[in-house]
Symmetry: C2
Subunit: 377 residues, 2 copies
């Protein structure tokens, strides 16, 4: 399926024959970075904003998705007149390294073209993803970014951008994330990986050989992850205990609406996402730990920075609770970074960062306008 | 495996040839109820306490488990000198209807002895479980229970006992539970069921035919459930982000200690629990909704009751949050039931009800002593 996608969708890509050296010591060469852009780069090349996507997102931020036909995943935030205003800013979004929408990853052919990387794709880190994006930004002739913006795993990338290339980042907005992945989040990821590994159609990662996909395992992985993206209140409001149809007690069928919803989430996901990519990217998230990368203190990652930060959290997000954003803000303050923090009151859980949240949108829009004024855009 | 267990373990059972009529309309006949007792019934038959077990518990409350050899699951609470003091009280614990430790359930032979019930076992409810326990209690010659006590799904049974047989229950202690199963909890159960259904070794429930068990699916189900039994703080304290061994980036192996722990939880579970039982019992929990059974109001279930209640919750329990216990207490108050409520401050999550929590133990012990004094035990 994913191979079929790779053949039929003509993703826009930058190619880097020299490749990329990874944190693991491995080198991916050549490297491909698939991306989309929105808006126009100004003459001073000073209005570029990189948007970083989350675990199951991709580069199709603000346009219909080429596989599902659904609207872009962040059209509420990126577009003309939106907080990331494409009438004013030049927006770049790359498919992450390890992804399955055209960037180098497990579903893409190995350098010799013989077969997909599959499980031979090297382990990667969030910092590796950012290094690949930096190559793309330079390839586009841009030396400094007005801003880097992203939520969830996208927020982790924002933090790595600001920590690794501070001179390139005027403003950074890490949203609904944390400076590390918690034990509970690692545990949920491990459930998803166990479900994929346990699916006989995963075939040790070689499902590409005869066109199978580990649909059941990947679907279970998506189902459990999806629960963590919502809140108990959101699930309760959306579905409560509503029954699907008859109230008859049945052994096998879906009884409650929330079950059908989750199953649907699982089954549509497997049509657009590669299982080996899911394994690779969840692992990269699990590895993420800014403190460990910087001598045990998050603040060390940002000392001396002139980047301005907007940290945003959502009150009902239990995947990346507000307390973890507060800890991040304390570290930024300890590093004397110029930092704003906003906690958005919402009962929509982690997914709120993708939804219509006017307070969040005003905060982000104002922050980006302020950054633009600061550098004269 | 479960069949092997059923053959090799000589569970103590009561048999009811007349069977049991279920909420679904089906009848299970004959009915078997496996059980254990601790302590001695007094001459007045007034010191009996029923302990109700949780989803994956069984009747081996206060003695080594016959399969795993581990201590009984509630030895912290039930035993000589413990809050449920077996020097003073006669404790009965039955394997729930639908379970896999000797009571009628999917792993037990069908009435004609031809094969296990498997997916032909009827859908059951928490109230059906309690009806089976009532038959056992009467079989033991007991007309009134000093108390019914249980946590999690055990607490749901306590509530059904008090609602269905109020004249038989002097005191009721529903612990770490709620008057209904939330959409989020249903969703987590559905993930587990999807993992079992998706395991080819489940074979549509007929894995007993050639001695297979859906170990991978059941293990994933256990892993995701286990996360919900803990708290983020407990996982963080227990494992944090500790690596298992080398820090090398690997694709397939467990990297973090929390992963090994979860996998171990999954793999040991499948050796003692039947997958079809897991499907049956999780569904019974999902159906649980006292308000729906009583004209839309929980209070209706308890109007006119003379049962005394102790409701206990644990502050970091996110499976059955304190707020749901408070709602239960409000309903009991609206029904003018004599009700005490205690929220235990702990960061150990839902599992705290099984652990060494002195404040909880003092509250429960005092409550049971008070009930005993009230009826002259």
């Amino acid at each position: 399926m994913t191979e079929a996608l790779a053949r039929t969708i003509d993703h826009q890509r930058a190619r880097f024959p020299e490749g990329l050296a990874l944190d693991s010591g491995a080198v991916i060469a050549p490297l491909a970075v698939a991306y989309r852009t929105y808006g126009r780069l100004n003459a001073q090349r000073s209005n570029a904003i990189v948007v970083c996507h989350a675990l199951t997102g991709d580069q199709y931020v603000a346009e219909p998705h080429p596989v599902t036909g659904k609207p872009g995943w962040w059209e509420a935030v990126v577009g003309p007149g939106r907080p990331v205003d494409t009438d004013r800013f030049f927006v770049i979004c790359a498919n992450v390294l390890g992804g399955c929408m055209g960037s180098s990853g497990p579903a893409e052919p190995m350098p010799d073209g013989s077969r997909p990387w599959a499980t031979d794709f090297p382990s990667i880190t969030i910092r590796d993803m950012v290094r690949a994006q930096k190559l793309l930004v330079e390839h586009l002739g841009i030396g400094r970014l007005l801003a880097v913006v992203g939520g969830s795993m996208g927020g982790m990338q924002v933090l790595e951008w600001a920590a690794t290339y501070p001179e390139m980042v005027v403003a950074a907005a890490p949203i609904a994330c944390a400076a590390y992945h918690s034990a509970q989040n690692i545990a949920f990821h491990e459930v998803g990986r166990a479900a994929i590994h346990g699916d006989p159609d995963w075939v040790g990662g070689r499902y590409w050989q005869d066109g199978r996909i580990p649909a059941k395992g990947l679907s279970v992985a998506r189902m459990v992850a999806h629960i963590t993206y919502l809140s108990e209140a959101a699930l309760g409001r959306k579905f409560g205990r509503r029954l699907r149809g008859a109230s008859a007690l049945t052994f096998l069928e879906d009884v409650f609406e929330v079950e059908s919803y989750l199953r649907h989430q699982g089954s549509t996901f497997v049509r657009r996402f590669d299982a080996n990519s899911y394994l690779t990217i969840t692992r990269a998230m699990d590895y993420f730990d800014l403190a460990a990368e910087h001598g045990g203190e998050v603040a060390n990652a940002f000392r001396g920075t002139s980047t301005r930060f907007l940290v945003a959290s959502f009150s009902s997000d239990w995947l990346f609770p507000t307390e973890e954003s507060r800890a991040l803000v304390r570290a930024l303050n300890a590093a004397a970074a110029n930092t704003s923090f906003v906690e958005i009151a919402t009962d929509k859980g982690h997914d709120a960062f993708l939804l219509d949240e006017p307070v969040f949108h005003r905060a982000l829009g104002g922050f980006l306008r302020g950054a633009a004024e600061r550098v004269g855009v």
